[in-house]
Amino acid sequence: MTSQFNEGLWKRRLHVLNKLKDMMLSNKDSIIHTRKISSFLTSLSEYDDYHSNEFFDQCWSLLENNVQNNESLWKEILFDFNRLFVGPDKLQAPPYESVYRDEGLIMGPSTLEVRNFYQSEGLKLENQGKEPDDHIGIELEFLSYITRLIIMSQEKQAEEEVNYYQELYEKFLNEHLLQWGLEFADLIIDKAETKFMKGVGLYLKGFLKEEELQVNS
């Protein structure tokens, strides 16, 4: 993956990462959430060439007729989102890495490994200690941050930095997101009650499958 710099690919990655991270983070305000849904749907039609595997195809066929300004649908999606990731009931798809890797609990050893990753890059979670560091949205945000650094380094033609951050990207993906992301995405696909959230699950799965392929090639 690091041998050759493909600027277009990184820009598309950044786009997908940003859409996904915005989508996965929970908001206090339902209006922001509604905007997110709308923006996610709009973004599906962009960067078609990245959407190259069967899961993206499935996502697209599920959602292409779903793009409509319909408030009751958006509410339904919000409730579904909360059932999956927020609560107050038992989460249908807990969005935390350690739940999949450490005895089903939050704040496990893998959470702290993720925290160390952020720390090594001079970052910390704003709500550290209150919210788990390994929430899907935050892991995606970290990758998006690294991706931006890669793109900016390339623009500055800082080759060492480009290589460093590409390696870091790969390492975080391999050691963390890919360790649980696909299981998580399958849970979303399985448990979602709305087409939209199923689509989000497929989109995440499509992205992770693509990354897995890239990393292992």
Partner: protein, 744 residues
């Protein structure tokens, strides 16, 4: 990890510098949840690093349990990694029970309620997040609207009980008082009959130091199961056994405690009073009474003796209890002739329509043999001697001009509904009606008897607010749920109703997500109320939780604990310097100042003046099998059993049934069976066991994850005989409940 990352990394390149450059700023600008670490500050939390890199905090298990354990919590990187018993706690001695050891799994369960949320509509399962500010706004506006419409806040009802017995948790009552006169659930479900009994007899509940059991030569455990429900008393009982003491367990069920005893007497359920009275009769007839003690300390002996001579015989008791006469005689003789004979009257024993009379009859055994106040002896039930805090958070005044229920003297007070008939009384209230519920420290729907009536009461409300940690039946029927902190996320102080120790509860970690303590919630509500209508809430808002804690202590508590400042409790729990044996000074708190076998106070509540047999409850033709719903080993009421470790050990409820009864009903091990009565039905798998009586089934009260199973679906709100005097409402006769048993 940093080292690994740096492999093959040019020394000339510093990422820190890189971040400070234009590129870094651009990249950082895209972040929403992550932020750059301020390199000027160390992020490591200050604390004494004396335990392998852990910060160690002292906590107290605040559950409704005899033991109120001392806990040490081990925190690293702000994460509670494990809990252990506090070896400095002299009663719990460094050990926790199976429930206590699960605490980290409770704090870090992904299922915890994380944010304030609103359900649209109630019961739909459609929840969305709201900010704390918005939640407080909705609630405060509703309170003000109710006050406007009805002229008082009486339509607002609170149901709060034993989810957390920390002293600062009485803030929930304080918060309600600070908005005006409201409606409160009054009473306690599980122990009032016994409380009244001991109040009539001795003027208070006041057990000896349970550690004194180690000095006993005979221990009668009567209707209690400490092997499950007070495991820290067991070592003291064991110590007595090792010194030659005999242990007798009287229980309809062969409990784990019974299986460890020298003698287990399987009494017919609800007839314990007959056994106690027959023992008293034998003691009287054979002149084993302590005349000197009676003369000096007891009033009403003559009346009691007359009653025994006229109404009680060993043969009558044998028939009632199902115990052979010679067994009753032997027990009476052993008890009377052993100076250090200790009786532990459990709570199960008094959850009957005659439970209060039963405890009075048992108390009487101690009185007539002069065992009250003597080493290794006495009749133990509970105590509140170490609970003399200020209740500063609880005692709040309503805003001036508040309207409540008018008393004869013109003063105002809150309205009460019986906690043990909550749903029905909420529905029946009509002047004014109840429109809003505030639920805290309570799983109202699951834990009150008659679940359906509770649900109907919820359905009739304009607004239901529940403060909780996990989704349950009560939250499901609420409009707004507010996430609350676990015991590790707020400061508090805890006393026990059994042992004599007092523990501080230190805040060990930050509250998870947006959880707040009941105290912080009260302050937040007050801020919002006063913002909307200045003066509408009197609850102070500018005091830190630590300051609130400090305000709970007084000189009385300090003297009792031998400390000068509550911070000394951070070094370890303290034991109250009370006499080892309660009532050893002979100063009873009754009107006469003596032990009252004859109690005029009892007559005021319609009871006979002396301990008397009250007929036990019997099964009907339609519902021929008794349903016993005792406490469960992996749960406490509706807490703990839902956690992953517990679910791994015990994934679903079972109904215990005697093989003989099972055979009659053609029920085999593992068959799905149905229990039903007038209220409804519950279903669970049958577990055949000879440990339960032949005329009863046992279904433990516990709330399982992902299950709406609740024994209270078929538990009627049948009152026990006593409780009104000391607790405001009679208790519940949980164990006088009858059902039909069928194979599904």
């Amino acid at each position: 990890m940093t080292d690994k990352n740096s492999k093959g990394f040019s020394k000339a390149f510093s990422r820190r510098n890189f971040l400070k450059g234009a590129i870094g700023v651009g990249a950082v600008a895209g972040l929403s949840s992550l932020m750059p670490i301020d390199l000027g500050k160390k992020t490591v939390k200050a604390g004494t690093d004396y335990n392998l890199g852990y910060d160690v905090f002292r906590n107290a298990c605040p559950r409704n349990c005899y033991d109120t354990c001392g806990i040490l919590s081990y925190v690293k990187d702000g994460v509670l990694e494990k809990v252990d018993g506090d070896p400095k706690h002299g009663f719990t001695q460094g050990k926790l029970c199976v429930k206590g050891y699960t605490y980290a799994h409770r704090v870090y369960s992904p299922d915890r309620i994380k944010y304030p949320m609103i359900q649209e509509p109630r019961g739909s399962g459609n929840w969305r997040r709201i900010s704390w500010d918005k939640a407080m706004d909705i609630i405060a506006k509703k309170v003000l609207e109710i006050k406007e419409e009805y002229g008082s806040t009486l339509p607002i009802a609170m149901d709060k009980y034993s989810g957390n017995f920390g002293i600062l948790h009485y803030v929930v009552e304080g918060m309600m008082s600070s908005i005006g006169y409201t409606t409160r659930s009054l009473g306690t479900p599980c122990w009032p009959a016994g409380i009244d009994s001991q109040n009539f007899d001795m003027g208070a509940i006041y057990n000896s130091d349970p550690e004194d059991m180690a000095n006993s030569d005979l221990i009668i455990i009567w209707g209690a199961n400490p092997a499950w429900c007070s495991i820290h008393t067991m070592p003291f009982i064991q110590e007595a056994k090792e010194n030659g003491a005999k242990v007798v367990v009287i229980d309809p069920i062969q409990t784990q405690t019974a299986s460890k005893a020298d003698t287990w007497l399987q009494i017919k359920t609800g007839t314990d009073g007959a056994l106690a009275l027959a023992m008293a009769k034998y003691i009287l007839d054979n002149d084993y009474i302590d005349k000197k003690y009676i003369e000096e300390n007891v009033v009403g002996f003559k009346e009691f003796a007359d009653y025994l001579r006229k109404e009680v015989s060993i043969s009558w008791a044998a028939e009632k209890t199902g115990l052979p006469e010679k067994v009753i005689i032997q027990l009476a003789k052993d008890y009377a002739t052993t100076a250090k004979a200790n009786i532990w009257a459990g709570y199960g024993l008094q959850r009957h329509i005659n439970g209060g009379q039963t405890v009075r009859a048992i108390d009487a055994l101690g009185a007539i043999t002069g065992k009250i106040g003597k080493p290794g002896a006495g009749v133990q039930y509970a105590h509140l001697e170490t609970w003399g805090f200020n209740y500063n958070a609880m005692v709040q005044s309503p805003p001036s001009g508040s309207v409540g229920v008018e008393n004869p003297d013109g003063s105002m007070s809150n309205r009460t509904v019986n906690i043990n008939n909550f749903g029905a009384e909420v529905l029946a209230a009509d002047d004014p009606p109840i429109k809003m519920l505030w639920i805290a420290c309570r799983n109202t729907i699951d834990q009150h008897p008659d679940v359906e009536t509770s649900k109907r009461a919820f359905d009739a409300m304009d607004l239901v607010v529940t403060v909780d940690q996990f989704m349950n039946e009560t939250v499901k029927h609420s409009d707004i749920v507010l996430p609350c902190t676990t015991l590790f996320e707020h400061p508090d102080v805890n006393a026990s109703y059994w042992h004599y120790w007092v523990n501080i509860n230190e805040q060990a970690i930050d509250p998870l997500y947006e959880a707040k303590s009941d105290l912080e919630i009260a302050m937040a509500l007050s801020r919002k109320m006063n913002e909307l209508e200045p003066g509408s809430c009197t609850f102070p808002t500018d005091i830190s939780q630590e300051e609130w804690l400090a305000k709970e202590f007084n000189d009385g508590i300090y003297d009792m604990l031998g400390i000068k400042d509550y911070n000394e409790l951070r070094k370890g729990p303290k034991k109250a310097n009370l006499p080892t044996q309660s009532w050893s000074d002979g100063n009873f708190r009754t009107p006469s100042g003596k032990y009252e076998l004859y109690s005029k106070t009892a007559t005021k509540y319609g009871h006979p003046a002396i301990p008397s047999y009250k007929k036990e409850a019997k099964a009907s033709v339609k519902y021929p099998v008794r349903l016993l719903t005792p406490h469960w080993k992996y749960g406490l009421h509706s807490q703990f059993q839902n956690l992953d470790w517990m679910m791994n050990m015990d994934s679903e409820p079972e109904i215990e049934i005697h093989p003989d009864l099972a055979q009659k009903k053609r029920i085999k091990e593992g068959d799905l069976i149905k229990l039903s009565n007038e209220l409804g039905k519950i279903k669970a798998k049958a577990k055949l066991t000879g440990t339960v009586p032949k005329d009863a089934v046992v279904a433990y009260e516990a709330w399982y994850k992902d299950s709406n199973y609740s024994v209270n679906d078929i538990v009627k709100a049948t009152p026990s005989d006593m409780g009104e005097h000391a607790t405001g409402s009679p208790g519940l006769a949980f164990h006088d409940n009858f059902v039909k048993v069928e194979k599904v």
